[in-house]
Structure formats: structure tokens, C-alpha cells
């Protein structure tokens, strides 16, 4: 682990009209790492990212981004941070090269023409550079957005669900680019819903209802959750997996019951109670049981189930 932290924040809180979006969140991201930022919709990921790059002022808390105070040095942070918004936020009525030119001019980059050409080349946009951004498909828009936010050679990239609505091939290429950038020394914070993307990160942070619930490498987070999981597969023709799922859910110690094809995945954090609840079913010859390693998804569903929904009270009927 590199000693210098690219992001180091403590107790960040933000409310909108009385609703807590982010609740005393603390986060540390070492330089040169890729941190996956995970959590359900509305959990406060976008709000956190916006506070990190100075778009929102935190109600409480303090911290630094690239060694600069997020409360008082937002302008200086902006020059060294590349932020890719969730929704495409470049000009649809400008062409790819015009968008990049605009960004390069705003940052006052020397050798603008060469840098824009290099960014086009790097992301394979050269042939399309005269196309209007509004006419591009999702994958190409995403490349343009990435090209625009790395143009000024930032030291920190904040990517807000960059691969939402992008096909698997484009996603894979995008992640290869992210890893190349990290290899060049950039720190990347990327929010996502995809488990496979989370596993491509050096470390992950899981946030739900504004609270940080877990942080660390994928194996650390999985190990810390202390889950035990079992998989039941049908061993006899009369095995009724749907009925089994119904009977299991709600039993003490069973926190997750999820079908995977014809198999059923069951798990819980309290191993003793889980085993006690499963015992009668494990004797049933219709099912074959085996213990397996919990996945990241198991951990997240478990974490989500345990966290209190602080929005539930305020939700409209």
C-alpha cells in the first residue's frame, strides 16, 4: 500500500431537505489504487462523489482530496480531479473534437491540439472526431466522457456509474483503460452496481442508506462478513426447489435464500443457528447439500438486509 492517501475524509454528512443522504462517512483511498464504490440506488454514492470534487458542500465532516482541503480548496481540487458524471454531461450539439477542445481550453492546457489528438487516439475516437456527441451510442459517449475527464491529466478520477447501460464488450474495454490509467499512477474511485466490476477493483467500499458498511479488498470484505453459505441441488426427481425455498425463508439464522438455476443458495452470519435450521432439510434425500464459499453478492445482500432503512419513514406511500 502506498503511504500517501489520495482521498482521506472523516465524518462526511449531507442532508437534502431534512433527509440524510450521507451519514458520517469516512473513507481512505491510497494513491494509485482503484476503489470500487458499491451500494444500492439512492444510497448516497453520487452525493459522496460530488462532495469529494467540490460540487456539494458537506454539512459536517472534513477531509482532504489529493492533500487539498475539500472545504476550502475546492477550486484547486477541480484542476486535479477528473469527474465523469452518471448522466452524459458534455455537449450533444458539439462534435467529439469540439467538446475536447472546449475542455482543453477551459483547463488552459499547453499544446492543446496535440493533447486532444492524443486523447482521441488513446480512446479510439479519431475516426469519429467530427461526429456530434448527441449522435453517439452509449458506449461511444462513455469513451468521449472518459477522454474529456482525463484530458487535463488529473491525479484522481471519480467515475459515477460509468458503465451503466453499456454493452459487455465496451465495459470490458473500459475497465482495461481504467487499469492502464491506474498503472500510470492515477487514483480511481468508481461507483458501480456490477459485482464483476467490483471484483476488478483493488478495494471496495460498500455504502447503504448513507452509511459505509464495509471497506477493504474483496476477500477482506467477504471474510469480515463471516457468512456461511450452502447450496442445495435436486438429488431426486420429486425435489421441489420452490417449496424448499418457501419453507427455508424466515427460519432463524437464514438470511439469504436465492435460487440459481435449479440450485438454491442459502446463507447466514450465525453459523450455529443456520446449521440448526438447515438440519432437518439436510437429512432429506431429495436434496444434495454442500457448503461453499460466500460470494461478494451474498455479502452485499446480507449487509443490505441488516442495515436499517433510514429513508423508509419518509418514503411516499
Amino acid at each position: 500500500m502506498s503511504p500517501a492517501a489520495a482521498i482521506e475524509v472523516e465524518g462526511l454528512s449531507k442532508s437534502f431537505a431534512g433527509r440524510v443522504a450521507v451519514d458520517s462517512l469516512s473513507l481512505a483511498v491510497p494513491a494509485g489504487r482503484i476503489l470500487g464504490f458499491l451500494g444500492p440506488n439512492g444510497s448516497g454514492k453520487t452525493t459522496t462523489i460530488r462532495m469529494l470534487c467540490g460540487l456539494l458542500t458537506p454539512d459536517r465532516g472534513r477531509g482532504t482530496c489529493l492533500g487539498l482541503d475539500i472545504l476550502t480548496q475546492a477550486h484547486a481540487i477541480k484542476r486535479q480531479v477528473g469527474y465523469m458524471t452518471q448522466k452524459f454531461s458534455y455537449y450533444e450539439d458539439l462534435s467529439i473534437v469540439e467538446n475536447l477542445d472546449f475542455v482543453a481550453r477551459v483547463y488552459g492546457l499547453p499544446e492543446r491540439k496535440r493533447k486532444v489528438a492524443a486523447a482521441l487516439e488513446r480512446l479510439g475516437l479519431t475516426d469519429r472526431r467530427r461526429q456530434l456527441a448527441g449522435q453517439l451510442s452509449g458506449g461511444w459517449k462513455q469513451r468521449l466522457a472518459l477522454a474529456a475527464c482525463i484530458l487535463h491529466e488529473p491525479r484522481l478520477l471519480l467515475l459515477d456509474e460509468p458503465t451503466a447501460g453499456v454493452d459487455p464488450k465496451a465495459r470490458r474495454e473500459f475497465w482495461e483503460e481504467i487499469h492502464r490509467l491506474a498503472a500510470d499512477g492515477l487514483t480511481v474511485l468508481v461507483s458501480t452496481h456490477y459485482m464483476d466490476e467490483a471484483e476488478r477493483c483493488h478495494a471496495i467500499a460498500y455504502i447503504a442508506y448513507g452509511k459505509l458498511l464495509a471497506q477493504g479488498s474483496v476477500s477482506e470484505v467477504v471474510a469480515e462478513a463471516g457468512l456461511s453459505t450452502f447450496t442445495a441441488t435436486p438429488a431426486a426427481p420429486e425435489a421441489d426447489m420452490a417449496a424448499l425455498a418457501r419453507r427455508l425463508s424466515g427460519l432463524p439464522g437464514i438470511e439469504l435464500v436465492a435460487p440459481f438455476g435449479s440450485a438454491l443458495h442459502v446463507g447466514g452470519a450465525d453459523r450455529d443457528r443456520l446449521l440448526a435450521s438447515l438440519a432437518p432439510f439436510r437429512g432429506d434425500a431429495a436434496f444434495a447439500w454442500r457448503e461453499d464459499a460466500p460470494t461478494l453478492e451474498d455479502v452485499f445482500i446480507h449487509l443490505m438486509g441488516r442495515s436499517r432503512d433510514n429513508f423508509a419513514g419518509a418514503a411516499p406511500p
Partner: protein
């Protein structure tokens, strides 16, 4: 320091706005179309001193003096006799239906009574629902009635000529001798067109960024509010000048409005006015949440600008409170400047006060706009 105002970043905004403007055909068409359409409508269609008003004559006298009066009326361009009627009922009907503006009622025995020196009344009934339409004509008819019979009252009747009034009333119209409405409307139109297009264009400028989601990009980049504002305003100053040029050309070639003063001075004064309107629009766009609200605010601003600035109604005819409202509108001051330069030939000395007022408005509105422009999404 990077936090200082930067010409480079301003230039980035300006070029971006120009490219976007070029792509937006509809807006571009509006910029040239609005001045032309408004000129056509206001310049040709609106005339606050209408002539050739349809008039019916009820001649119960059928004598020489009655006919002379009617002939004199017809000779003035204000009245156009469209028909003779035989009864008062018929005359009332025509007035009620709006077919005529005036009915000239010559009572029976008018010529005899004139000859006998009885000074008989001559009744002119006017449809005064629109006072503006008839006031000019009525004024003329008054003068006309006094002199219509001069030629006929000769010989023994000469003593009946009205004795000269104790003073001579002479109306001398200055600057616009023919009281040509177009001379007043066309220069004023320059201000109205600029107010309308400049305010709407910039009012949409920031709200459009917000609606399209590009505001987040603008905010996360190291752009200062003043750079964004000037960058949004500068391209429209050019547009404003294109409109000024279109209107001046039309004023000279189509409406033949004389330009007495200096065009250079007008150009300099216009830039202050254009900038003030753009700043007003920019302020609206920092307040409005979406483009519809921005449009509504622009119209809310546009109406008093037209009604209270002296463009549509005489400024001096308004009550004090309305004049006070008019004073804070840039259009009021610009109308005085543009009419002063074009019609009176005013120089820098005469317009300095009004241009100063425009500067003050520009300054106050700009400060409000820059302060309202938020650098975060809070």
C-alpha cells in the same frame, strides 16, 4: 493564481457558445427573423396618427356652404367621405357598426343661417372608442371649420368672417414635422427587438445547461462565474449588432427615417444597452429552474418594457409611479438615446445621462447575476 479571471477560459466559453449557436438553426432564424417581422408589423401596420378615416355626411341643408365645408374636409387627408346618408338613424347605424369613424351632420338651413350671421352649429359625431385614432383628425377639423368658408364669405358677407382671435395659435411640430409615426416607432423598435431577443437568449443560456445536465461539467471545471457569464453574453453582443444593422438599414431604405446624429455614437451607446439586457437575461437564468420558467420571466419583463418605457404610450402621460418603474427599465433610457441621436441629432453631451443610467443598470444586474450563479449543486 489559477483562481483569477482568465481570458483563456473566457475564450473557451465564447467559442463553445458560437459553435452551439451555429448548430441551433431555429435560434439563428429567430435572431434575424424577429427584427424583420417586428419591423414589418410595427413599422408598417402601427400608425398612431391615422388618416383617411371613413366619414359619412348627413346634409340636410343642401346649400353652398354645407358643400364647401364637406369639400374642405375631404381636401384634408384626415377624412375620406365614404357616403351621403339621408337620416340620423342611418348615420347612427353606420357609427354603431363601426363602418365610419365620423358623421358630419349639416343641419337644415345651415347656409341661410351662416349668411344671416347666426353662427349655426355644425355637428361632427366621432366614434371615440379609440381616442388615439380620432384626436388628430378632430384637431384638424376644428381648424378646418374656421377657414373652410373664408373663400365663400366675400362681398357683403365678408363681415361674417370670424374676427381674428386675440392671439394667434401656431402649432409648430419639431423633429418630426409631418408627425410621421414611423419616425418614432422604427428607432424605438430597435430597442424593443433587442430587449426581446437578448433577454430571452441569455435567459435560456444557463437553464439549458442545467436541463441538459451539462451544468455539472461546467461546475466541476475551474470556470469562474464571471467567465461563464461573459462567455455566454459576448456572442450575443455580436448578434445584437447584426439586429441593429438590420433595423438601421430598414429604417434608412424602407421607412426613410432620417438619421440626423452620428451612427458611431449610436453604435457605442447600443453596446451598453445590449449588455444590460444580456445581463438581465443571465440573471433570470440563474433564478429559473427550467427553460419554461426562464421564458415566463422574460415575458414578465418584456411587457412593462413595452408598455412603460415610452415605446407604446407617451412616457409623460403616465402617472408618477409608472414613470418610476419605467426609469429602472433599460429600454426607457435607450429609447431616449436612440430617438435623440437619430431624430434630434444629439451628441455625446446630451445622451451622457441616459447612457450613464444604462451603465448603472448593467453594473447592478451583473453583480446580482454573478452572485446568484452558484458554483456548487447545493
Amino acid at each position: 493564481m489559477s483562481d483569477r479571471f482568465s481570458l483563456g477560459r473566457l475564450w473557451a466559453m465564447v467559442t463553445k457558445e458560437f459553435v452551439q449557436m451555429r448548430r441551433d438553426r431555429m435560434t439563428f432564424a429567430m435572431m434575424v427573423g424577429i427584427p424583420l417581422i417586428q419591423l414589418g408589423l410595427f413599422g408598417f401596420a402601427i400608425n398612431s396618427d391615422p388618416r383617411a378615416l371613413p366619414t359619412a355626411v348627413l346634409d340636410a341643408d343642401r346649400g353652398p356652404f354645407g358643400r364647401a365645408v364637406v369639400a374642405a374636409m375631404q381636401a384634408s387627408s384626415y377624412v375620406r367621405v365614404t357616403g351621403l346618408v339621408d337620416s340620423e338613424a342611418e348615420a347612427d347605424q353606420l357609427l354603431a357598426e363601426g363602418k365610419v369613424q365620423f358623421v358630419v351632420n349639416i343641419p337644415p338651413g345651415f347656409s341661410h343661417r351662416v349668411a344671416r350671421g347666426e353662427r349655426p352649429p355644425l355637428l361632427v359625431e366621432a366614434d371615440a372608442t379609440d381616442p388615439a385614432a380620432t384626436s388628430g383628425a378632430i384637431g384638424t377639423l376644428n381648424v378646418l371649420a374656421a377657414s373652410a368658408l373664408d373663400r365663400d364669405l366675400t362681398g357683403p358677407l365678408a363681415r361674417l368672417k370670424p374676427s381674428p382671435p386675440p392671439f394667434e395659435l401656431r402649432i409648430h411640430r419639431r423633429y418630426n414635422q409631418e408627425a410621421n409615426t414611423q419616425y418614432n416607432v422604427v428607432p424605438g423598435l430597435m430597442g424593443v427587438v433587442l430587449t426581446m431577443t437578448m433577454v430571452i437568449m441569455t435567459a435560456l443560456a444557463v437553464t439549458r445547461e442545467r436541463e441538459r445536465g451539462t451544468m455539472e461539467t461546467l461546475l466541476v471545471m475551474p470556470l469562474r462565474p464571471l467567465e461563464v457569464m461573459l462567455g455566454k453574453i459576448a456572442p450575443y453582443v455580436v448578434v445584437g449588432y447584426i439586429q441593429v444593422a438590420v433595423i438601421l438599414l430598414a429604417a434608412k431604405l424602407v421607412f426613410r427615417v432620417p438619421v440626423v446624429g452620428s451612427l458611431g455614437l449610436l453604435t457605442v451607446a447600443s453596446v451598453v444597452f445590449i449588455a444590460a439586457n444580456l445581463a438581465v437575461g443571465f440573471t433570470f437564468s440563474t433564478v429559473a429552474r427550467n427553460q419554461l420558467q426562464a421564458m415566463q420571466m422574460s415575458f414578465f419583463y418584456f411587457l412593462p418594457s413595452i408598455l412603460l418605457s415610452g415605446f407604446m404610450f407617451p412616457y409623460r402621460g403616465m402617472p408618477a409611479w409608472a414613470q418610476a418603474v419605467g426609469e429602472i427599465l433599460p429600454l426607457t433610457h435607450f429609447l431616449r438615446v436612440v430617438r435623440g441621436i437619430m431624430l434630434k441629432g444629439n451628441g455625446p453631451g446630451e445622451i451622457a445621462g441616459e447612457v450613464g443610467a444604462l451603465f448603472l443598470i448593467l453594473l447592478i444586474v451583473s453583480v446580482v447575476a454573478v452572485r446568484r450563479y452558484r458554483r456548487t449543486l447545493d
